[in-house]
Symmetry: C2
Subunit: 205 residues, 2 copies
């Protein structure tokens, strides 16, 4: 990416869906250094084909992607490539999007914003409602399991302004949610959801 793309803000606690043509890239900038971004992708032609964490783990033979890796769909086709990563490279593929059940269990007041609802709203807005919420790629989420498989959610390891760049390997709908988690350490020790900045570079016409 050369820094000449369209710039957007993904506001704290909010979600957004947008179309990415094959070859386009999105840089997801962790402006404040501790914001997890739940990430989904779907075929723009057939939304029953979506980026699948379990298929990605199988084909990468690894829990989480590294720079150069291509995440795949539930039909094992290339979906998104992790083209750049200055964040320290710690991302999660194991955990679900936060949802109303999660916040109820954590004792939050009813109506707490959450990534699952952000996902659904973003897809409704783009005219592509889905019946279930696939497991997301949780960018910047630090929940690497230990040798016994125990998962503890720790603050992200990334720094202010670090980023990842994802390149579309097919014509996609991308959905991002700036995770509204403010109870656990998901979004850092201050438990404050923050804005994320996006830069989209479209392929030349």
């Amino acid at each position: 990416m050369n820094g000449t793309g369209e710039h957007f803000v993904l506001p704290a606690r909010a979600g957004k869906a947008f179309r990415l043509a094959r070859g386009a890239s999105v840089r997801i900038i962790n402006t404040y250094g501790s914001q997890v971004v739940d990430t989904w992708a779907f075929s723009a032609i057939d939304p029953t084909e979506f980026m699948s964490m379990e298929h990605t783990r199988l084909y990468l033979a690894r829990i989480a992607p590294k720079v150069g890796d291509t995440l795949v769909t539930n039909r094992a086709r290339p979906c998104l490539t992790l083209a750049e990563d200055t964040s320290g490279g710690v991302h999660d593929t194991l955990l679900p999007a936060c949802d109303t059940c999660r916040y109820a269990r954590l004792g939050a007041a009813e109506g707490h914003s959450n990534c699952a609802d952000n996902f659904r709203s973003a897809l409704v807005e783009i005219g592509l409602p889905l019946s279930h919420v696939p497991a997301p790629l949780n960018l910047f989420e630090n929940s690497v399991p230990d040798l016994n498989g125990v998962i503890v959610i720790k603050p992200p390891v990334c720094r202010y302004g670090s980023y990842v760049t994802l390149r579309a390997e097919a014509n996609l709908v991308l959905v991002l949610s700036a995770c509204p988690q403010d109870i656990t350490l998901t979004n850092g020790v201050d438990r404050s959801p923050r804005d994320v900045h996006l830069e989209i570079v479209r392929p030349a016409e």
Copy 2:
């Protein structure tokens, strides 16, 4: 379980769906010691609520369940409890059901039987078709990641006749598939899918 239940054979390479009332248990017997069984569960009332590997990992705070653990649905409600396990306790929650894409990549002839198709066929048979194949609980599958998150599929660690018992925590539809994998080491070094024996104990009326 007291050994007085109904006995069934789940034939090698085949799938089966059946209803389990809350409190019922199924013992899944790895008769020949190296057969992986892909396992799904759904609410009998609302099939959009299903056993979710990502939600289970979050609520157990662990990659895979141990004896006494309850796997949960995508609405974080109790689904199945791993009530007994004599198999060595190695099960997988990370990998997808094998499917046509998997066998195409492995160079198998077209039409290779697979767990995803077994799942779909079993649900059609029981009158409950679903639009997507959730990530299964892969009983007996030995794909424990190493410290670097690398996943290598090794032969199962279980012995002839060892078993797990799953207890239904809600009124469920259970789907099992005796994995047809005969190319990788999933089902052991002889790469031969085998029959699995089942014993279902229903709660007293």
